[in-house]
């Protein structure tokens, strides 16, 4: 009979808590499920040997589409853009802070004067 523990053992990925491990060791239903999973995984591994021939037009289409090669790392541009964004945000924050401090200082000096 399928118990709530069976359902939980099936639903949770990985080993889960010790209680589920103990359940799996004695539950024939869960052991059958684990055996089915092993069969499935073997079948999936078997698919790796299989190669589907590419369509005949692929090779000429690729060769016709070859443009220029690019040795520059595209991540460098991304990093530079991110750095520029951060610098701009930092500058804006610093300017706002300075303006606030200046405003407060002016108000303070006016109050004293």
């Amino acid at each position: 009979m399928r118990t709530p523990l069976c359902a939980l053992a099936e639903w949770l990925p990985g080993e889960g808590p010790a209680l589920l491990g103990a359940h799996r060791r004695i539950c024939l239903r869960c052991q059958a499920g684990a055996a089915r999973e092993r069969v499935l995984r073997r079948a999936l591994v078997g698919l790796a040997d299989e190669q589907v021939p590419a369509p005949a037009g692929l090779h000429p289409r690729v060769l016709a589409g070859l443009g220029r090669q690019d040795a520059a790392d595209p991540r460098r541009a991304l990093v530079a853009r991110a750095a520029a964004r951060h610098a701009a945000a930092g500058g804006l924050a610093a300017a706002t802070l300075l303006a606030l401090v200046a405003g407060l200082a002016r108000r303070h000096s006016r109050a004293l004067g």
Partner: protein, 182 residues
């Protein structure tokens, strides 16, 4: 040709292709196009597979000067194929011209693969096609191609926990689909 000679010939082709030799790259395409197409087919189905394979091979050509040989060329191509599959799938979803969730099977299988094994594999391919694209990608990369959880997560832009959960759900769904097909 021994395995060593094949390897040396490939390294030579790679060196020439890196230097911009289109003919050498053409030879590499000839060697790897079936592998790339098969992975694309498993990730996105037959409607987009040829486009994904083409995009992956063109990206590989553009990026070849940056290939340092830290991984095998085949592994590097697989990564590019996964990235291309994701880009093209997103683009196709945005344009939403055709549903990508429909059934598909390996239409390119040669006819001599008749019999029980082909039947099991065809059933498995149909079941894979019924998964969500995210589940399918994880199960194909982890269980078919033997990638680690970390590699799979990195290439798909998800966390390792998400990869593990998706894999578990995908296996459960596959088991249910295969049991239902019997």
């Amino acid at each position: 040709m021994t395995a060593g000679e094949v390897q040396r010939a490939e390294e030579e082709l790679l060196a020439r292709a890196r230097a911009g030799d289109r003919e050498a790259f053409g030879d590499l395409v000839g060697r790897y196009q079936d592998t790339v197409y098969t992975l694309a087919l498993r990730l996105v189905g037959p409607d987009l597979a040829a486009d994904v394979a083409q995009e992956a091979l063109l990206r590989a050509w553009r990026a070849l000067p940056r290939f340092r040989g830290e991984a095998a060329f085949g592994t590097w191509l697989h990564r590019i194929t996964v990235n291309s599959a994701w880009t093209l799938r997103k683009r196709a979803r945005r344009q939403a011209t055709e549903p990508l969730e429909g059934d598909f099977e390996d239409r390119g299988l040669p006819p001599e693969r008749a019999g029980e094994l082909a039947e099991v594999r065809a059933g498995l391919s149909r079941a894979l096609a019924a998964l969500t694209p995210g589940q399918r990608a994880v199960v194909v990369l982890r269980d078919v191609y033997g990638w680690s959880n970390a590699e799979t997560a990195r290439e798909l832009g998800i966390t390792e926990v998400t990869a593990k959960v998706r894999l578990h759900r995908a296996r459960l769904r596959l088991r249910a689909l295969l049991a239902g097909a019997r």
